[in-house]
Symmetry: C2
Amino acid sequence: MEERPATWDLGQKAATGYRGAIKEGKMSREKNISQLSPSEIRNLIRKGKWDKPTPGLAMGFAQANLVILPQRYAFDFLLFCQRNSKPCPLLEVLEPGQYQTRSLAPDADIRTDVPRYNVYRRGKLEAAEKDIRTLWQDNSVTFLLGCSFSFEEALIRAKVPVRHIEENRNVPMYITNIPCKPAGVFHGPMVVSMRPLPPDRVIRAVQITSRFASVHGAPVHIGDPSAIGIKNLGKPDFGDAVTILKGEVPVFWACGVTPQAVVMEAKPDFCITHAPGHMFISDVLNEELATL
Amino acid sequence: MEERPATWDLGQKAATGYRGAIKEGKMSREKNISQLSPSEIRNLIRKGKWDKPTPGLAMGFAQANLVILPQRYAFDFLLFCQRNSKPCPLLEVLEPGQYQTRSLAPDADIRTDVPRYNVYRRGKLEAAEKDIRTLWQDNSVTFLLGCSFSFEEALIRAKVPVRHIEENRNVPMYITNIPCKPAGVFHGPMVVSMRPLPPDRVIRAVQITSRFASVHGAPVHIGDPSAIGIKNLGKPDFGDAVTILKGEVPVFWACGVTPQAVVMEAKPDFCITHAPGHMFISDVLNEELATL
């Protein structure tokens, strides 16, 4: 458990650093992209004019994790998500062969509207693609899952600090000893993301994220990392370490890397996901996802 | 839409009246059953010693709706529930052939522990059974869905009146003009239950039921029945009419009859459900189902 399994090559390194780059205006050629609507950004992506990470784009709108599997795995994976809704909150699932969403963004094409895709065969990363139309199959089933970007925006609006954004890093993620409930061929430990908070913001963070059950919801653990099998906060399994100030409490949320890691462990013949940080941008407002 | 479709023969008439009978002690031979634990009641049911409706039993514990379908329908139905979580809140779904739950009640047997089952072939009610072991197939997939009994208990504890319980009747249910999101072969209108409330209790009722997303959650409509296609509150499509006092507001919740009605409309070769009112009694407390 200490070492990240070799098959969990999610290619997430590429995502690091872009979040800040957008904010600092280093991507001046794409200036104003952060002002565009979800539909306008998807149009750029579709035309191959944007293949970079999506944090900071279309603020206010929900972004989604993507998993595409052959139909024979679809019931098991849907069941896995139903049983493990904190790490795997389903926003939308499409019928076999369908590549247009009904509710998240009806004019989008799932095969072209994600900036970068990872293609896996038997759990091994085979290629990164900007367009998967030639890989699409009649029995491909698309799963779109909620993403922590949605609740991070709500935290920031409530003046709860989000350290990795402040430090222009990728969020630190850790493999825990919390088992997911298995379903068919899918099983594995929960992966969590960590945000250090001043003690007086912890309760507010619980309240805010509890409203967003469809984007991971309330934390799964507060405090002692060793209680959930994390040995060293300075060495995350994915993403980057962040500064933890004196007196701050580490707060852990179920993370969307969990379903990807679980799928990779199951080694399906074929699977396509978004590349980490390169999300599907929906037309749904984060606030529309709130329960209360 | 005015007439209830003939294929929606859910046999719910049998459920009417029992709720009150238990409270009034008319079932003296089974005296004290309302004091028994979920496990003890399931044991009685398994031995054939209780084949009556379950309202009022194991108060505090969640009861569940049951739908059993052959595996070839399972992905579509799971997808339908995911897309329509208010009428179809999944509590647990079992792998094909599995008849023991993992989380709701690990010692239960889904084939014997429900007091009465309805067996349908091609959407037609064929038989009522007390034990379905001889009907069980290796590819049977079990769906357990949340039930409004859970939130009614929370309403009563907060002094929000629940009229059909006060009047010892079955809750009134109506077919609306609100379409469910279709999934594969499953489609149809949402069925709602109605509880009339004094205006000063409506907001509290919204707050309380919002906490219970896994048992239908917040109302889907407040006020004018015609806005959701209901012509006459005095003539429910299922269940019994209840008294609406002067000034009271009808409040409508998504109803667990929806998935059953949708399954019947799809006319699967084979399907087993609980008989209305004869629910599966779980070991999970209603409070454990609350989001907040």
